[in-house]
Symmetry: D2
Subunit: 294 residues, 4 copies
Amino acid sequence: MITEKSLKETFKIDFYRWKTAITFIGKNCIATRGYFLEDLIENVNFADIIFLLLTGNLPSQKESKMLNAILVSLCDHSITPPSTQVARLTASTGSTLNASVAASLLAFGEKHAGAIEKAMRLFQNTIKLCETEEDIPSLAKKTIKEHLQNAKKIPGYGHRYHHKDPRAAKILKVAGKLECAGPHTQLAKEIEKTLHKTKKIHLNIDGANAAILSDLGFHWSAGTGIFMIGRLPGLIAHINEEKTQEKPFRKTLKLEEIQYYGKKPGKLRESKNLDETIQQYTKKYKKLKHPTAF
Amino acid sequence: MITEKSLKETFKIDFYRWKTAITFIGKNCIATRGYFLEDLIENVNFADIIFLLLTGNLPSQKESKMLNAILVSLCDHSITPPSTQVARLTASTGSTLNASVAASLLAFGEKHAGAIEKAMRLFQNTIKLCETEEDIPSLAKKTIKEHLQNAKKIPGYGHRYHHKDPRAAKILKVAGKLECAGPHTQLAKEIEKTLHKTKKIHLNIDGANAAILSDLGFHWSAGTGIFMIGRLPGLIAHINEEKTQEKPFRKTLKLEEIQYYGKKPGKLRESKNLDETIQQYTKKYKKLKHPTAF
Amino acid sequence: MITEKSLKETFKIDFYRWKTAITFIGKNCIATRGYFLEDLIENVNFADIIFLLLTGNLPSQKESKMLNAILVSLCDHSITPPSTQVARLTASTGSTLNASVAASLLAFGEKHAGAIEKAMRLFQNTIKLCETEEDIPSLAKKTIKEHLQNAKKIPGYGHRYHHKDPRAAKILKVAGKLECAGPHTQLAKEIEKTLHKTKKIHLNIDGANAAILSDLGFHWSAGTGIFMIGRLPGLIAHINEEKTQEKPFRKTLKLEEIQYYGKKPGKLRESKNLDETIQQYTKKYKKLKHPTAF
Amino acid sequence: MITEKSLKETFKIDFYRWKTAITFIGKNCIATRGYFLEDLIENVNFADIIFLLLTGNLPSQKESKMLNAILVSLCDHSITPPSTQVARLTASTGSTLNASVAASLLAFGEKHAGAIEKAMRLFQNTIKLCETEEDIPSLAKKTIKEHLQNAKKIPGYGHRYHHKDPRAAKILKVAGKLECAGPHTQLAKEIEKTLHKTKKIHLNIDGANAAILSDLGFHWSAGTGIFMIGRLPGLIAHINEEKTQEKPFRKTLKLEEIQYYGKKPGKLRESKNLDETIQQYTKKYKKLKHPTAF
């Protein structure tokens, strides 16, 4: 029988519009990374499926517990992050839950959410250089030295609200107990040892998670993804709280809280020849170097 | 010759994936709403193309000037709106310009950006009831009465930072001069007359623009679109200012500025039988009606 | 000692900028919904923290397993949903992971992602009317009748790609085994019984999850949030696949796949008096009712 | 009198939360870049305000006309760009206008919307090296040579749907007529001359606009901003068309259009010892290098 499909195949008409190795969909059939979804529903937990989707493999029981703990550690940090402020400000304008979440995730810029990925890259690139475990302490010293020389911060250390991030110590303890701490975690701890001695700086939750995720086999480019997954429930809770507990479009700023430092306001003179007037203004104005224009 | 196209046509294989009446694209040919783009580039200004895209027609010269003035009036209101705060907070995390703009537009929720559309709908629905211009003053009174009875605010009146919005009076003057003020504008002014007498409330820029846009023939559902177009340049300026004048990920909030009113922190007791412990906690906890949970 | 804080308190200067009941942050201290985060990291899994954040309570072990299964069931449906297409198209332009996720979540509009919430609301509002469990079969019949009379689809039934959604049957089986199926689930099944007899339509995964989530005590307004949490890992996998396996800015559409049905392109005549020409065009044009303008 | 303000000043309590040089807001007073908004409403057009916001200066009449023409040239390119597909797909799920616009702008990634900015940077950096206009032809040759040697495309040339972009020639003609074409435009044309001879490639609208915007004094980092401003009206028209002319959540993809190339679906064996089974699977599986995982 001649069908659309057979014709397309015979005449090599473009057939596939997309290709994917993630999930197979057939009629009444869904299989993700090679496992029927019915089986997954009955046998694995949510962190397992995250592991499966992002690495292609199911975790062992210990790896599963470890990823669960990491995701728990990321769940919320109250309204201090700009992303949570953005979530609530957006919700306060009457936007939907999903739009408010989307706005918030746009504030996961590299200066805010990038530390985990940067730390993973640093740890992974450093450990690649390492041939025996004995090398790790010296690699740690070398890493610190290089950053100091270039006046660069080492990602994953220090916290602007905490002196000693209570989550970092606990997640490292869990990693030890679950035998999930490998060379990347050892490196992270070695760096902390020196930084603490010289600068009283501790590993933060981003740095600790970055090290453990690297030992679990995650590629550094998955870092921001895992942070978003871990933080999403907290964002949803904040958006719901804003929508149900606060008045919409409440005044979040008074005029006196904004400092204006631009050009003193003046009048465009009314004139038959506006172009001339404007050019006059413009000329005068061009002498000032304007502080904020592109 | 048998081609993919001829085959598809012969055998009625799905051919079109999208359809549109906005722009025709052929090889080396672009025509928007029926006009070759080369012609438009040479002969019309940006507001004309906005008018053309949103209404299907090019404006007259007076209509063109009017729409230009409306768009100018919407350009910026400093950092007071939540959308501008969102733009800058997002930019402060190192996000790109377009991501920061997108976040900001997500805060154009109906409680913030919806007034122009709501006022347009109100004016348009009211004027539809109106058979002669003499009716307008009585329709205005009826409108106010209905809103008062239902304890509803009339959209487009009053401003949380200005007693008398300086943009509204000016845009109405321009509309008069350009002969663009029709029945919707008359209605808006009549409502203002009464509201000012009884409550000292003035028409704001949303209300004034809503009336004039209605007289220009825009459907009320275009209101938020025109607001976004008018405000976009200001948002871009703010994002650029944040990126070039401020330090990234600056601390925008101190811990003491956040009031915590939830459950007093306690310890999950360590226990062999965690489930029991948690249920214990949970039971006690369930008695409190939690203020923010879904 | 006079401090900023004491001064603010004495003189009642605005002190708190935000308030929240979700997480308490002190120096070196983080506690969510009343539990120290260190404790949570060590003792609960990721689904537990989702339960805690969205309901205010920790789940029992069975509830925890149930929520894990629900989240697994939502993880991915290949590229069929518009939200996944949006994720990949956005990623194909070189946008960051978080921006691509945000775009995707914006396509969780109520026509796509709304079914779970609508089904939860329907089930919850119906069960509220129910005094004894005997009532459920008759409430099911009444619900179907009302929808039929108003020619409205019942949310949570039928699927555009599957005749019998394989996830729905499995999640209901799991709910039975875990003793998490209550009156809402019974109602959902009763409705399915009749719909299947009369229309060969089955419960889909949205409907099944909506019923079980309602029995777990989630308010219907949490539905889209839970869908987003469950789907996020899949979206991240797709964005990563697009970025690593496909060429950026690949051509996803041929010109012949777009059907143009607007005004036939013509030339703006060159004229000293452009305004007149345009009005001429415009007049002619106004006679056509334009199909797409606002 | 002791006021909140005086106290704050006396005791140096944090006073300003934001600072800006863009717009001054006082009670009943709004002034942007030093001009009262009432004056701007009456005297300048929308492109002027865009010029003012992004450069700090008002344009001359010729510059104003030039920027208007550039913005017109960017207005729409039907559904071919991924950003427009994203706009419509998002709208098809029932999302709001502003959410659909935001999703679309997120697809203004550097591979799609970046050409204008990259071309501006190239032209501006090259012209900086140029001491006399005589240098331009040799700088053009040097630029081409460098790109060829590094196998890099020169941004702003060639178009995937047009052999000769009809907008580019026209905008250059307008720039000539308005005396807005300077050294950057000359450079762009010189590069085109050679590229056309050797590769039959023409300047596209991004390249032409990049050159003229550079001659108008815009910094290269404003490029994507101007593209977004110019394209926004078209996006809004498409979103409105989708919402009013198409059925919501229409099926945009058939299962047969998705090619699955991942692991062949198999069953997770039911087992008392799931961990062991999974590890078995995992081990076998780890031998395959998975094509898409992070």
